[in-house]
Amino acid sequence: MSTTTASLGTDRVRWLRPTLTVLVAAAVAVGAPFYFAPFQVFQLTMVLLYAVALSGLNLLTGFGGQISLGHGAFFAAGAYTAAVMLDRYDTGHLATLPAAAAGCFLLGLGFGVPALRLRGLYLALVTLSFAVFLPPLLKRLEPVTGGSMGLTVDKLQPPAWSGLAEDQWMYFVVLAVTAVALLLARNLLRSRAGRALLAVRDNESAAEVMGVRLSLHKTLAFAWSAMFAGVAGCLYTWVIGFVSPDSFSFVLSITLLAGLVVGGLGSLYGPLLGAAFVMYVPSVSQDVSEAAPGVVFGLLIITVMFVAPTGLAGLPGRVLGAVARRPPRTTAARDRTPEAESAPGAEPEYQALSGPSETHAPADPAVVDAEPVGAPPRTEKE
């Protein structure tokens, strides 16, 4: 690997390097469950599972520019679909995955329609109240959902031929689903629909003029995104083997969004980093302070956002950029010249999310609080 890194530039190497890195990553991913202790394999499984949910949210929020604070609800819907199927109808695990995916896709489609009329903040809050509403609803539907006691179902069991332990088998199944999901997310973005989505995010009216069918693509974005969350929820049921309404409180939705932003919005691998963050950092926090892990966890979130405002995925780029470029630096919003506007399909990593307050000028503290200048100047009149 070091030799390839050393000789950059030729076309052959340009192709060799990604191929190699993918191979190395795959080897690491496949080898991990044979190296780590079972509970660490379990942790990795959870990271992968959350990454699926986050990449779904990323489709909507990072690429579509719509903020959802209700993805925990879709996650729960997927988890409950799987649990109810396993518990009531004994369908077997495999059948639950397409059901959960399809169910959440439809649910998302249903949500996508009103979401068309809601922008930014309002959409976020409507989805948040949906997330708040879901747990009591699940409790109410006791005959199906088992009410507040929840449902305990069988976990995924390794088939005899595999010779794997339970945690290893679950890891591989989740790894496979995650790989497919991430690939799907990537291809969705490169498809016509995905490029339309990016165009919509960057400039809604321009995209509309270009003939992009705005409403269709936005609704579909919601549906796809909900589907990913549902698939993650289904995996959750397979891995944990227990669902209860209070496991899916609105805190989960907020955690998902926080994970995505911390990992890196609009980046293809940000969800992986974000998932690792929400999985590992709480444990680290309580190692630091047993009395109040929340104090540490809260501080860590803030710190990451300080250090990497565009998320952990953007950090290497920022660091490299800071080294490569010295001032002139801008304190203003991006240039409005057409050339500066990103072409659809371009690498979206450093794009800021377009929101209602895009116009805010970034106030550089160093500049803002420089010494005050005396009395206001007057124009001399002759």
Partner: protein, 293 residues
């Protein structure tokens, strides 16, 4: 009929609680364009400050202004230390910073004051008004009254003072505000201080009713969001009207619509918000973005 009116009064009581926090949310949103998830927790923290002062022997009416002052300064410092460094980052980054702040403040309060319920002094007299069988506590009336006064003061501040004008200008177009020589950073600090103060008023008002503990404001926050959304996220009047409306609506549906019942009444704000937004996306009192190309 008396029962119905009694439920309406109960609803107004809850609504006033939501409205008080919604005011602070609206303030921050109006001036910074962000939703501050930590607003409720900051209010809770302020309330603990007041509690600590009272517990250490300070008379209530002295502790109150002291708490408001501490909250104002605290809010300004918060803007300077926590929010300023991410100003200009993507909007969601700032929102997530407030989520981090939420977790931090909640845990901090638990660490310092534990999760045991604290007794917070009630500024309003016990008992209440009896209007032909319908009972309204003085505390409910008091909260509504204070919230209305705060709302009025905010209105005067925005519409009839030069600092209010400057704040609105910053909210509307910070870049142009800077070009006009306005120190946007200081105005934002002032805005956060103000919101923290309004939040402190909210916390001190509701603590005797909800009982003080670190999670006191967590539940209120969702309803306050609903109230602010309903009223329009940039309108103080809307926040108050929205809060009262949400309170009454959820109480009545919880009490009288059996299909919904007390357990599903949290769905009421969801339905209301959705309905309002589909018809009038800027909320009841919100201003539609007036712009002509």
């Amino acid at each position: 009929m008396t029962d119905l009116l009694q439920q309406v009064v109960e609803g107004l009581g809850s609504g006033a609680v939501y409205a008080s926090l919604a005011l602070a949310l609206v303030l921050i949103h109006r001036f910074t364009g962000i939703v501050n998830f930590a607003q409720g927790e900051l209010a809770m923290l302020s309330t603990y400050v007041a509690w600590q002062l009272v517990a250490s022997g300070m008379p209530y009416w002295l502790a109150l202004p002291a708490t408001l002052a501490v909250s104002f300064v605290g809010g300004m410092l918060l803007e300077r230390i926590v929010i300023r460094p991410v100003q200009g980052a993507p909007e969601l980054t700032v929102v997530i910073v407030t989520v981090g702040l939420f977790i931090f403040v909640n845990a901090l309060a638990g660490l310092i004051w534990s999760f045991t319920v604290k007794d917070f002094p009630q500024p309003f007299p016990d008992g209440g008004l009896d209007l032909s069988g319908v009972r309204m506590d003085w505390s409910t009336l008091g909260i509504i009254g204070v919230v209305a006064v705060v709302m009025g003061l905010l209105y005067l501040l925005f519409q009839h003072t030069s600092i209010g004008l400057v704040m609105r200008a910053v909210a509307c177009n910070p870049a142009s505000a800077r070009l006009s020589g306005i120190r946007v950073g200081r105005v934002l600090m002032f805005g956060w201080g103000l919101a923290a103060t309004v939040g402190a008023v909210s916390g001190v008002l509701v603590a005797p009713v909800l009982f003080l503990e670190p999670n006191m404001m967590g539940g209120v926050l969702i309803y306050a969001f609903a109230a602010a959304t309903l009223g329009g996220f940039d309108s103080p009047v809307g926040a108050v009207v929205g809060g009262l409306f949400v309170g009454v609506a959820e109480t009545l549906t919880g009490a009288y619509v059996d299909v919904i019942g007390a357990d599903l009444k949290v769905g009421v704000p969801l339905v209301i918000i959705l309905a309002v937004l589909l018809v009038r996306p800027q909320g009841l009192f919100g201003r539609a973005a007036v712009e002509r190309a």
